[in-house]
Symmetry: D2
Subunit: 351 residues, 4 copies
């Protein structure tokens, strides 16, 4: 099978190259870069060049243009491009390839909400309905037949996996407060003073707090859906911490009184067993809070919790570039094409 990666020189593109280089059902890869077409992959990413070599015969080991990639007729296209640009660049592939879009361009169905978050209306409103939200453990059935899969953001993935079962089964009473810690790669590979090593090491802080981050409405719409059409009062506050890769999310909410009465560790274990018992990438352990390193380099999400009266605290970790981006994109491809769900992906974290 042939795959094209649009935006192959960014961080999510570079991870996709690594993952697909070991994927046994991907034989040829077009690494696409508009600005650097023609350049040797070796110069871009010497680390991965050798492994990839065997799969880039079609392109002579070079970065190619979108036109060249289109001509290759790839069965699957991964768009690892900036928001607002992705929907445009992907145009030649819609309808011809399965498109897995890692940008935000198809994540929010409501054009008004989208415009508020991203400053302009969605580029392709005509495709919003067809796009499936690729949170694999929740929308697996829809993904199986999707032509356009909108890969979730890293913050939404880490926030939603522990929360959705809780809201579906127990509901919520009052605010949902999410505090998230993210590694710096979440900001992408853009040359910006704010992301320099010297600015970020020995430094941490919150940004876009409460209701002001672009991922807040993306999370909220899924929480509303989990509540069966509710209106979640979500406070989401991201923090930058000096990690290359990694994400930790701490959530607190109150359960409705009746739901809280039977709340204990056994109930939490049963809850996650019901929702994720057959999922290879979600693990939970009420007895040990997860560390971001537990899942470094893997596609896993690890969950824990703490019960205090009817307040419930949830803790979850992912690798923001893998389960939070490129790994979940590959998982989406695996589900869509009927491959083994774990093919090309790791379940355990690196040391």
């Amino acid at each position: 099978m042939k795959a094209a990666i649009l935006g192959a020189t960014g961080y999510t593109g570079m991870i996709l190259l690594r993952l697909l280089s070991e994927h046994q059902h991907i034989d040829e890869i077009a690494a696409v870069s508009s600005s650097r077409a023609g350049m040797d992959l070796k110069e871009v990413d010497p680390g991965v060049y050798t492994a990839l070599g065997k799969k880039t015969g079609c392109t002579g080991g070079k970065l190619v243009s979108v036109d060249e990639a289109t001509a290759m007729k790839p069965e699957v296209v991964f768009a690892a491009l900036p928001h607002l640009e992705s929907a445009k660049v992907c145009a030649p592939f819609f309808g011809n390839s399965v498109v897995i879009d890692l940008s935000a361009d198809f994540r929010i169905k409501d054009p008004v909400v989208f415009e508020k978050a991203y400053g302009q209306p969605p580029e392709r409103q005509d495709l919003l309905d067809a796009a499936v939200y690729g949170l694999c453990e929740v929308y697996g059935d829809d993904i199986k037949s999707a032509g356009l899969i909108s890969n979730p953001g890293c913050y939404p993935t880490a926030s939603l996996l522990p929360l959705i079962p809780v809201l579906k089964e127990f509901g919520v009473d009052g605010k949902i407060v999410i505090n998230a810690l993210s590694g710096i790669s979440g900001a992408g590979r853009k040359a910006a003073v704010n992301n320099l090593f010297v600015e970020r090491t020995e430094n941490c802080g919150a940004y876009s707090p409460g209701k002001s981050h672009r991922h807040q409405p993306e999370i909220k719409k899924e929480l509303d859906a989990a509540l069966g059409g509710g209106d979640a009062d979500l406070f989401f506050t991201p923090h930058l911490v000096p990690l290359k890769r990694g994400m930790e999310v701490t959530t607190i909410l109150d359960l409705p009184k009746e739901a809280a009465s039977g709340l204990n560790d056994e109930a939490m274990n049963s809850l996650y067993e019901k929702y994720y018992g057959s999922s290879p990438f979600v693990a939970w352990d009420g007895g040990r809070l997860p560390q971001s390193r537990d899942v470094w380099g893997s596609n896993s999400c690890r969950i824990s919790w703490k019960i205090e009266g009817r307040s419930l605290m949830l803790f979850s970790v992912i690798d923001n570039l893998v389960k939070g981006a490129s790994g979940q994109a590959v998982q989406n491809m695996n589900i869509r094409f009927g491959f083994e769900e774990t093919e090309g992906l790791r379940v355990y974290g690196e040391l």
Copy 2:
């Protein structure tokens, strides 16, 4: 004036040595270490040795024992010792020197609460009433005449400074949720696998969440006092992030309806002006969330906020080893002895 530092080879002791080496009212310093008495300071901390040399004539540039320090009759003693050990080691100094204790041994007045947090009753219940809680900006008047000052913990300092004025003026409705990020030096200089470079770099996570951290009751008692004898429903969750030094605290609470009606940036500015207008170490800015680097190496606390309806989010940063420990201890000494409050301390952060 003569000062003794008990526990001079730990991180807070090493910072105290630095701060006092530049303090114009401290002429002689006894650096005390029970386990390494007699060792050259140069071997312990070559960085600070030169500066300190001139002030350690009395000890020949060596670490000394508690007995030797006692014989020096220091006017002020800084105890930078482990919890449960400090109150014992300080015994010869009580009543003879002003003791500024950086441990938790005198922070919690209620023996039952203390025992729950620290696993045994307070060593010196007889001194609990006399000990003044050394949160300088709040208890300055009491500190001026104190014989025993209990220096606050780092988490409480960073949490309480933004919160106390809010609770005193506006009150609270419901839960107070605090999420804190701390650098690794907060764990002290103990050889432990969990604090190795390899374990903590590229890693982050929550620990002791909700109501289970030892600093939770220390914070709660001050919140209760700020509420005029209330019972704050406090959820405090610390997180370890890979910083050497630094601390960030994100807080969310709801104000009572009447208080919330007039809430705006101007009111917040006035609030902090009222409480901290004459304090050299507290700064606030509603327009910019603070970063831990803003105060790295300084004794300052920087505060910001975000208002969403009647929910209020607070953000604060300190250097956990300075305002969160050794710097505040020096500030306490400055207040106690009538020195300039900023003597020996910095108000701005290092790059």
Copy 3:
């Protein structure tokens, strides 16, 4: 095939668990720890537990004792134990299993040199002659039939791979000066103040310089051999830098006049092609200096060079825990048992 890992809870042991969990010829793994036998692997290393689970049926997912591992009759034993301890603990396996020893206990054949470096004579002088030095790209033929393989140190591996072909073909005139940078994991997982996060972050420096590091004689004996029985004048100076994993080596030497006359990039390319043309893990590129990240997590060594008159500079990078320890150990097993040399190992670095 069954494998035992002695010292499964140290860093090299933890990496071995990861690598073997994906190795298709290893079906059962005994994770051995004298001090923690009986403990759940899950508590030791939650990241790798899931993957490993299927291969630890024999041990019920628990750490086992040396006796239990002996009873399993493993075909291969990896000893990831401290120097001077390894040769003792491995005793029951010699002659019964292929032993791959990651310690220094069999690296130096000359008992006098060994004692000078390690403070006591080799524990098992009777086995020194039989032990094969497991530098795979150099001693591959001997490894194929070895019963005891002495896995090289990380510094020697990174230093020798670029140098040996140069010395064999060109010789040397005068000093060989090697400066090496190492990540902190090279110091192992021992609780020591010197390896705490706070001590090592924002810090770097040389240690054991010139002829005083234990790896100096290990490197020297191989250089002497490459010179056909010469006496290399080796200055080796390691430096600690704040990496979790990674190693970079910068070497400078002068070639004999006649050898230097024809020295150019083409000759260097030919040289390495001759020695490493069929090796999957050695790559070279005269046009780009390698970065330690190029090989992070992989078993590869990347080499470059710079020619200045008859002075030659060499640059090489490895992951100290993989090619410098556990990965080369697996590579040794692959060669010894006739498996694909790359089985279970990566050739490209992580982002």
Copy 4:
């Protein structure tokens, strides 16, 4: 006294602002930025704003243009600007103010050598002769009356301080090999992908090796001078390591036979005592290799050595932004204007 800082928003400019904010002889500071004139300093650098406030009355706490700074008639001007730009921007100040230039524009007197290193001839050849090379411990006498001081580079400062006395007293036989490790701030505050946190953390490597780095000729000219007009065969290889601030230099050279005969620790101690006995910022200790943290934030250089036959290894550390840039610039001002040499500077490193 009034000071102007040209390039106040780069790293060296930001450090200068901090140092001068505490300098007792500087009353007014013009923080100059061509591109951001008019912007509040508070937005640029909230950490230092408070301290600086009292000294920026003249500018209303704002960044000013070069013209505005010229009108202030500052007694001293610090130019913290990019190479090739500095000599141009400083034009209005030459002859009117003492100019301390932190760029390379006046470091190399030979226009041919300059052009080879920087790609174009020096901008102001007319001033090259008048410019004094501001290596304080070596050219102190010249600095006292200089109108234009060319502040040395960070690599040259750390390399030359241990080497110059050795070459002056003992000479050298053969190559001088310098390997240097530098923190990332040495690359300045330019938005460049190569300096992003994600690119530099968990990464290290050599660059511009041997004779190809721009600092090689700057170092060589001073070594030649120390040899009394010799031609030093210098190999200088810098390495980037993931520090914010810090620099370590490891040097090896052979002494001439006669000089080597009496070489021992005592002789080295006497050597440095002779050259640096009255210098507050140079410390040496033959018994302990320096760590970059020893001098973090200070203007000190710490030196050690190791003798092996007639080979001598030298080790030195500085803070690249302080003694390697802004601190030495202030030290130059102190010497030039007859202030206490340590005024505004620290001799000990931060924890």
